[in-house]
């Protein structure tokens, strides 16, 4: 995590303004997870809507607890061998003073822990989009638990923890291009290579059941992302957070236009799903880069991300891997684009004086970015595939074929997303006419 510059002579003191700002940013980032749930939930077929929503929502429960117990300590504690962190005072967040500041900043440690928690919640939720319609809920809960412990917490340390190898190397990742998006996208690829395709992939039509829900989700993500990006500077004393805020908006707008233009030329229509997807691709790409580039650079990054991600989502049909909602095509590809383009577009006037190729800096930073990108990508891909394989061989990752075809919502959650019975028919069962003890009714009739 980039850190606000403070006056070198004086020890930093708690800033009420920065603290308030960061608490709001934390809440904004929290909102991204339900936003993501809607974004994904609208894209699946009616029969798996609730499962898709729940795969994100459960992360708010599981990761929060793990973060308090040991996650924060592993991610941001004192460096151990450039790979993980540890600070026993932070286990259970128990020995932290109320006014104790996060190193080098003007905000309390508790605020930093809360802000970073929201990132840790969002990242595994991002993976879920690739696994739509087919993963047992218990297996998913176990996967999240193992994945954040073995992959996310250490990778966050590599990138943002003092002493982490990528941090020390000088890899620039303002708000999570590598630690969040490449990490989640590579993990998604690793898991789907283990668990396989949905029944009917490439044969049955799998249309989004609610594009308005997708738009609502994309809007909430965009809104929350201001907290995610601008908040990552952890304060407002030098204006870098404000630059990030502007670049977030600029790149995202440009990416919407890029995706739509590609789609119109290639497929003949300006689609709603394209606009929403373009927005997310732009947000992803500017996430690592927005503190280092100018607004014009942000436009370039946004357009490039919008067009390349629109092209990348077609790869799954060509290579026949079922990245159901394009986590690889948008988050992995978008994250790589944003992270690598820093090597070209860094102006040297933002978060640091590092200049990219187009600003006279040569290719030094580009090679550093490559190291960060491919280090995180390779580790996340392999570790995630191994974790998925472990679960797949023990309790099993997938629901049965019957349950998948009939709809995972009924099988795993004993609910259906929408009640269509108003027009007569349907499976209305009133308590008066046919009382059912809750304990007996695990399965609901179709």
């Amino acid at each position: 995590m980039a850190q606000a510059i403070t006056l070198a002579a004086d020890a930093p003191t708690l800033s009420a303004a920065n603290t308030g700002f960061m608490l709001i940013c934390s809440a904004l980032v929290m909102l991204m997870t339900p936003g993501l749930a809607f974004f994904y939930g609208g894209m699946v077929r009616v029969k798996s809507t609730l499962n898709m929503l729940m795969m994100s929502f459960i992360s708010l429960g599981i990761v929060t607890i793990l973060w308090v117990l040991y996650g924060f300590s592993v991610a941001f504690g004192d460096d151990k061998g450039s790979l993980v962190g540890w600070n026993s005072d932070w286990v259970g967040l128990s020995n932290i003073g109320l006014t104790e500041l996060w190193g080098g900043t003007t905000i309390p440690l508790f605020v930093f822990a809360a802000f970073q928690l929201m990132f840790a919640i969002l990242t595994p939720a991002l993976i879920s989009g690739a696994l739509a319609d087919r993963v047992k809920f218990s297996a998913w809960a176990l996967f999240i638990t193992l994945w954040v412990s073995v992959v996310y917490f250490p990778v966050a340390h590599w990138v943002w923890g003092e002493g982490g190898w990528a941090f020390d190397l000088g890899v620039i990742d303002f708000a999570g291009g590598t630690a969040v998006h490449i990490n989640a996208g590579a993990a998604a690829l690793g898991v789907i290579l283990v668990i396989g395709k949905r029944i009917g992939f490439k044969k049955d039509p799998m249309r989004p059941h609610s594009l308005p829900l997708v738009m609502l989700g994309a809007g909430l993500l965009w809104f929350g992302w201001f907290g995610f990006n601008a908040g990552s500077w952890l304060g407002n004393d030098d204006g870098v957070g404000a630059l990030m805020f502007v670049n977030t908006q600029v790149a995202t707008g440009a990416a919407v236009l890029g995706w739509l233009a590609y789609e119109k030329i290639r497929h003949g229509a300006f689609t709603t799903l394209g606009a929403a997807s373009g927005a997310v691709s732009g947000l992803v790409a500017i996430t690592p880069a927005g503190g280092a580039v100018s607004p014009l650079g942000a436009i370039a990054i946004g357009v490039i991300a919008g067009v390349l991600c629109a092209m990348a989502v077609g790869l799954k049909y060509k290579f026949s891997y079922d990245d159901s909602l394009d986590v690889v095509g948008v988050h992995l590809v978008g994250g790589i684009i944003g992270s690598l383009l820093i090597g070209f577009f860094a102006t040297g006037k933002g978060q640091s004086d590092v200049e990219g190729l187009f600003y006279g800096g040569g290719l030094d930073q580009f090679w550093k970015q490559c190291a960060g990108v491919f280090g995180v990508l390779a580790y996340s891909l392999i570790a995630s595939a191994v974790l998925a394989l472990l679960i797949h061989k023990t309790i099993g990752m997938r629901v049965s074929e019957d349950e998948e075809v009939a709809g995972i919502d009924q099988a795993e959650h004993a609910e259906t997303a929408y009640d269509f019975s108003g027009a007569g028919g349907g499976a209305a069962r009133t308590p008066a006419s046919s009382p059912v003890a809750p304990a007996e009714s695990k399965k609901v009739d179709a």
Partner: protein
Amino acid sequence: MKLITAVVKPHRLDEIKEALQAFGVHGLTVTEASGYGRQRGHTEVYRGAEYTVDLVPKVRIEVLVEDDDAEQLVDVVVKAARTGKIGDGKVWTIPVETAVRVRTGERGPDAL
């Protein structure tokens, strides 16, 4: 008695209802349906994946009528349903053996 069934474009429903009322028809049943004829369906694109959607939305109108009125009523429905474009739908009749008004038990044409 005859049963007239019309499967037509949804936006013609009001016209058909009014035309039938003007003729003196007292009741009808409408259901939402989907299907295709020569019109076929349309193509939708989601993130580059193109789907051909065969079935297009239609409404199915069912009217029970006396034998003598049937031919004329078919004309009334067809005239109200027609837009002249492909996909206007179909209208047909079949003979009906009996009909009963549930409230009173009246049978045959009296039940209409």
